[in-house]
């Protein structure tokens, strides 16, 4: 069924239509959530949170054609809210526990195996959260500046500056290979 018709149905409160809309792009959503949350379990939690929020407010969506960008923004916000909550709750023991858990997960998650992946995540620790977010959205999710600006609720100029400054810092930390 056409996306357009599905959005119309979803706006009238049809749950199945909303679910179909998300499933059409499930990998894109999942990757986005995964980038923020860092593991499968939390990524799916974030998506659950997202679909509930979508269901509650889809009737307010003014431009039907903006469904996907709108819903992705909501996903990003859901992820951030969850991360914030988690940050507040994490105690040392839990952190240890969590790390153990993640070790257990490694076996089933090929993504986690890569040395390379750990490299880039460690590298990204050198930039601030906003810069990291902007770089990830641009380089891992192929999103354009405008979309990133909409999702993170800042101006295009800010997005560009975050990416530029972030890359600059990364280069400095990556070390030594000098000028291009």
């Amino acid at each position: 069924m056409e996306v357009f018709q599905l959005v119309k149905k979803a706006k009238k409160g049809n749950k199945e239509a909303l679910l179909q809309l998300i499933m059409k792009e499930k990998d894109v959503y999942y990757k986005l959530a995964f980038t923020y949350m860092g593991n499968q379990h939390d990524a799916m939690d974030a998506m659950e949170e997202m679909i509930v929020r979508l269901y509650e407010s889809v009737h307010q969506l003014k431009k039907d054609e903006a469904f996907y960008s709108w819903s992705k923004t909501i996903l990003v916000n859901s992820c951030k809210t969850m991360l914030k909550k988690r940050k507040r709750l994490v105690l040392v023991e839990e952190l240890n526990h969590q790390m153990e858990n993640e070790h257990n997960h490694l076996a089933e998650d090929p993504y986690k195996h890569s040395e390379q992946q750990i490299d880039i995540q460690q590298l990204l620790l050198h930039v601030n959260e906003h810069q990291k977010e902007a770089i990830q959205l641009k380089y891992f999710h192929d999103l354009d500046y405008q979309t990133i600006a909409d999702m993170t609720n800042v101006s295009i100029g800010t997005v560009k500056s975050r990416i530029f400054q972030g890359l600059k810092k990364l280069k400095a930390h990556f070390g030594g290979e000098g000028d291009e």
Binding site: K15, E48, I51, E56, Q116, L167, E180
Partner: protein, 429 residues
């Protein structure tokens, strides 16, 4: 591509391989099914709507002209309306009425429509008589006034035109604004009757003040300009789609001595003069109330000022003009020329014919000699003469009681049109 970007690109490739887990769909469906739609408080929404509606109703009820009216274009009035009124008619700003009455001579009088705002009521009417209405038009057919609740609105001007066959007249009549509380208006028509007397008939029609056009600016001015013999106090400006009216009071002793009136006062919007359409003065307890009506203001208003360019002035002279001897050149009084063109005597009077600029009126005039003086009796034969150079002069003959031998003419002062060049800025928002 530098190393960082290469690394980021490699990371993306890896991420591209990631797919959503199989169980995602089931989890999402479960999440959806356990969530209930948030109850939307319809009652509150309705309540808000009602409050908004009530607020608007109050606006309409108590605020005249809250809404512009978009009606239909009044047809057939192209010849009698132009400029602003034509524009408004093109935009369909009239209120259609379509009420008819048969006059005594068989002519049908129709009120086609109205345009109303806070400055005036403009009536669009038609007179139709297949047998010809030429006779009647020459007679005194008059639309006298419009009455209604809190309304007694006098006619101020009108334009009409007759078709070639002489069977139809289309016209507009401008009246004072009507009360926003009136729901029914009555027009009073005076028509001559066959016995030579006149008869009044009337025609009532419903009126909807909410269809009046919106007042664009209502601005208090409260600025006074002092003139030689008093002051002019500008009180307010009311700008509507049909006109802009300045109201105020004046107490000027010599205001009516010359026919300039208020037409030397200009309204300048965005640096350009707005055409003056008329003015009026009526006496009030202190001084007089006046209004000046200008055309409507431009839509984009950047600046607005009142420019008191010319107004009546007074100059004290105490001038003694020796008459008797030959005098070819004019006398100069306060920069104005005065010619004595003739002096003659009758058995009772001395007559001195003078000529001045059209805007000069002498004050305190007498003749005399060393022994006695006599004041002006009266002025006769005043005529305006257009000179070859286009200049207009005023000739008149001054009459005095006969004296033995007048040697000089005494002039105390003069009224004239004086340039004041005073500017009052009216703030625009």
């Amino acid at each position: 591509m530098n190393n960082i970007e290469k690394k980021l690109a490699e990371e993306k490739k890896r991420l591209d391989l990631v797919t959503a887990p199989q169980e995602l769909e089931a989890r999402l469906r479960r999440a959806l099914n356990t969530s209930k739609p948030k109850r939307r408080n319809r009652f509150f929404t309705l309540g808000k709507l009602a409050a908004v509606a009530l607020f608007f109703m109050m606006l309409v009820g108590y605020n005249f002209n809250a809404f512009a009216y978009y009606g239909k274009k009044l047809l057939g009035f192209d010849e009698v309306i132009s400029g602003t009124l034509n524009d408004l008619n093109e935009k369909g700003m009239g209120q259609m009425i379509g009420k008819k009455i048969m006059l005594q001579d068989g002519t049908e009088f129709t009120i086609d429509g109205l345009m109303t705002d806070a400055n005036q009521l403009i009536l669009y009417y038609t007179l139709l008589n297949p047998n010809g209405i030429e006779e009647m038009a020459n007679f005194d057919f008059r639309l006298e006034k419009i009455t209604g609740f809190l309304t007694y609105s006098q006619v101020s001007s009108g334009v009409s035109s007759m078709n070639a066959a002489g069977t139809e007249i289309k016209g507009t009549m401008h009246f004072d604004p009507v009360s926003p509380f009136a729901r029914k208006l009555t027009i009073h028509i005076w028509e001559p009757s066959l016995n030579g007397q006149g008869t009044e008939s009337s025609l009532s029609f419903p009126y909807n003040p909410n269809k009046a056009m919106q007042t664009q600016i209502k601005q208090s001015i409260k600025k006074t300009v002092n003139v030689d013999k008093g002051y002019i106090k500008f009180q307010s400006l009311t700008a509507t789609p049909t006109a802009t009216v300045i109201e105020g009071t004046l107490d000027v002793e010599n205001f009516d001595r010359l026919p300039l009136g208020l037409h030397g006062i200009q309204l300048i919007a965005n640096g350009e003069e707005i055409e003056i359409l008329g003015s009026g003065v009526k006496s009030a307890i202190r001084g007089s109330k006046f209004y000046i009506q200008f055309d409507r203001l431009p839509e984009q208003l950047e600046s607005l000022e009142l420019y008191v360019s010319e107004f009546i002035g007074y100059q004290k002279l105490d001038e003694m003009i020796v008459i008797g001897s030959e005098h070819v050149d004019p006398y100069i009084l306060n920069g104005k020329e005065l010619w004595i063109t003739n002096i003659s005597r009758t058995s009772k009077n001395v007559e001195i014919t003078i000529s001045t600029d059209h805007d000069v009126m002498l004050h305190g005039v007498s003749i005399g000699n060393a022994n006695e003086q006599t004041s002006l009796l009266t002025t006769v034969n005043q005529t305006m003469v257009e000179q070859e150079n286009g200049r207009i002069t005023k000739e008149r003959t001054l009459l005095f009681d006969l004296m033995v031998e007048p040697e000089f003419l005494l002039v105390e002062g003069m009224h004239y049109i004086k340039r004041y060049n005073k500017i009052i800025e009216i703030p625009v928002n």
